[in-house]
Symmetry: C2
């Protein structure tokens, strides 16, 4: 029985097919900056400039959005690590040290708040999809580093990969406390010492 209401003018309609990307970009920003729980669906919707129904069409539940976010972060961070390693040249031993430049770059970025995966794991119960996704990410990284260690001729690539991922995770974890570039520098230095000690030569 409500009168048809004179049709509110709509502001800047999102072109078809771009809604999902806009949502994901906003979620990336808010989830990383505030944390998974602190960032509410309503806020993400409002800042995306998208209608609620559109949001729930693409992400039926908040967890689905979180998983998509983690997927995105995985791609970005893995890409940065690979790029930093390759920038160190063709020598695998040098790459094992050079990948730590990605940590230094991350530290310098505005709004840096450590590792999105560690932060996500801290907020999710073990056994959830979110937690499992985080574990999978860390395993991929370690497998990649282990592979580099093999190529570098490390006598115990598992051990070297463990050591280096510990230092990398330590650098990332301390990033949530303060974005101190000294931590990243120290991590690279530490990595160089470990690579040197475990290869028995100076890379």
């Amino acid at each position: 029985m409500t009168p048809p209401a004179a049709a509110a003018p709509q502001a800047a309609r999102t072109p078809p097919g771009q809604a999902r990307d806009k949502i994901l970009a906003t979620a990336f920003r808010l989830f990383y900056a505030q944390g998974l729980r602190a960032a509410g669906i309503d806020t993400i919707i409002a800042e995306s400039g998208v209608a609620k129904a559109t949001f729930y069409k693409y992400f039926p539940a908040k967890d689905d959005l979180i998983l998509a976010y983690l997927e995105e972060v995985d791609g970005v961070w893995t890409g940065q690590l690979h790029a930093a390693a390759e920038a160190a040249g063709p020598d695998p031993a040098a790459q094992l040290v050079g990948l730590f430049d990605a940590l230094a770059s991350a530290c310098r970025r505005d709004g840096y708040r450590g590792c999105a995966f560690i932060n996500a794991a801290a907020e999710s119960a073990s056994g959830t999809r979110i937690h499992a996704r985080t574990v999978a990410h860390k395993e991929h990284i370690r497998a990649w580093i282990r592979n580099l260690a093999v190529q570098a001729g490390a006598p115990d690539p598992d051990q070297l990969a463990r050591s280096l991922t510990l230092v990398l995770d330590g650098g990332l974890a301390s990033g949530v406390l303060d974005a101190d570039p000294a931590a990243a520098t120290a991590a690279r230095h530490t990595a160089a010492q470990l690579v040197s000690a475990n290869l028995g030569r100076n890379p």
Copy 2:
């Protein structure tokens, strides 16, 4: 106009002065196991077996309880680190490695979920009291390790302390993913390598 209601029998009254401890013990358990946001005040009150008014008398806001919790964790964890270091004997160099036994012990404990401080920082915005308390904790730990490094005669105690805290934090951070004892073992091994490399002798 409600009738005086025949006075419900009260279950097990908390002795005066013990209410705060009961609340803090419950909060310790729930905050660590579930995270700061996931653990609700109502649940903590219910599991403490304490009345709501009593709770708010001791902790006017949730943040006050969280800070008390972090204070508690600081005492416990610092104590464990010191104990592990002292158990390694009087040699400071050996203590720098031995403190990592506290990490291995922590890993083996049921319900281990990494570092309470890193987890807390992941859930709190920078600038909050909670975040600041976390940063202070990490600085205390590093200052203590640096002191050991000085006693051990390290040529660059700052650098060695940095390296070792990176490895320690890495071990703790990976603990929120899975409580793999191998990570703790690897951390100790890595620490031994770093101490050896930075002291120029075999501890």
